[in-house]
């Protein structure tokens, strides 16, 4: 199960809506081993595409060095789908390289850039196997 606070949830949704119709992407980092998504980091989609996302390689290195220094890991890796459901594509599954992360998918196909409903779903992806999990949104993460 993914437990995420409302402010971080809202930040992910806002990013997805802002970048629609291109895919938005980013991470929520947290202390290694804690399973706590604490630090929201929006990333640039270097692909700038409605059907693909890729973290810019220089920013990717900077992000991982920063997480390393802070003893963090990517607790959540999120991206949006802008015309399809919030379910990992074949490409998402093939390229998922963080088996410990919660892969969050947001679909903006109904809302576009505007107010309106989005799908927000979370998965584990390991060795090509996708397992959906429940998402619990809380006011703040428990101490």
């Amino acid at each position: 199960m993914l437990t995420i606070d409302q402010e971080t949830y809202d930040a992910i949704v806002a990013h997805a809506k802002r970048d629609h119709p291109d895919e938005a992407c980013g991470v929520v980092a947290g202390p290694a081993g804690s399973d706590r998504p604490e630090r929201f980091v929006a990333m640039v989609n270097a692909a700038g595409s409605p059907t693909f996302y890729e973290f810019d390689s220089t920013e990717l290195l900077a992000l991982y060095k920063e997480m390393d220094e802070r003893d963090e890991e990517p607790v959540v890796i999120y991206h949006s789908h802008t015309a399809t459901e919030a379910y990992p594509s074949r490409t998402d599954t093939d390229l998922a390289m963080e088996p410990g992360a919660h892969y969050v998918l947001v679909s903006t196909r109904e809302s576009g850039n505007n107010e309106g409903p989005v799908e927000f779903r979370s998965y584990r992806i390991s060795d090509g196997v996708v397992t959906e999990e429940d998402v619990t949104v809380v006011d703040r993460l428990p101490d």
Binding site: C25, V27, M43, A47, T51, F52, Y53, E54, F55, S57, T58, L60, L61, Y64, K65, E73, P74, I77, H79, P88, S89, R90, T91, D92, L95, A96, M97, E98, P99, G100
Partner: protein
């Protein structure tokens, strides 16, 4: 010649869980051969049909190797090498 190589989580099964290993080589190709000698299986995760895999990023002293010669990039003692899988999808 010792070069520190940072190993991403997904490849630590090849390094006995180590986050960082030492390897040597005058080029990236030679270094990956040396890694393979000590950590069998790792080369195939980095190279496909003689090319660096599209969704594997390798950095030498913070420079993406794609901009400094790819597999032919030359390496020196004390260089720092980081391997990171791309974060990408569709």
């Amino acid at each position: 010649m010792a070069i520190e190589v940072r190993i991403p989580t997904i490849l630590r099964s090849y390094t006995g869980g180590e986050k960082s290993v030492e390897a040597s080589g005058a080029t990236l190709t030679a270094l990956i051969d040396d890694l393979e000698a000590n950590h069998p299986g790792i080369r195939e995760r980095l190279i496909d049909q003689g090319e660096l895999r599209r969704f594997v990023n390798v950095y030498v002293n913070d420079e993406d190797v794609r901009f400094i010669g790819g597999l032919d990039a030359s390496l020196s003692d004390g260089d720092q090498l980081v391997i990171l899988p791309a974060v990408a999808g569709g």
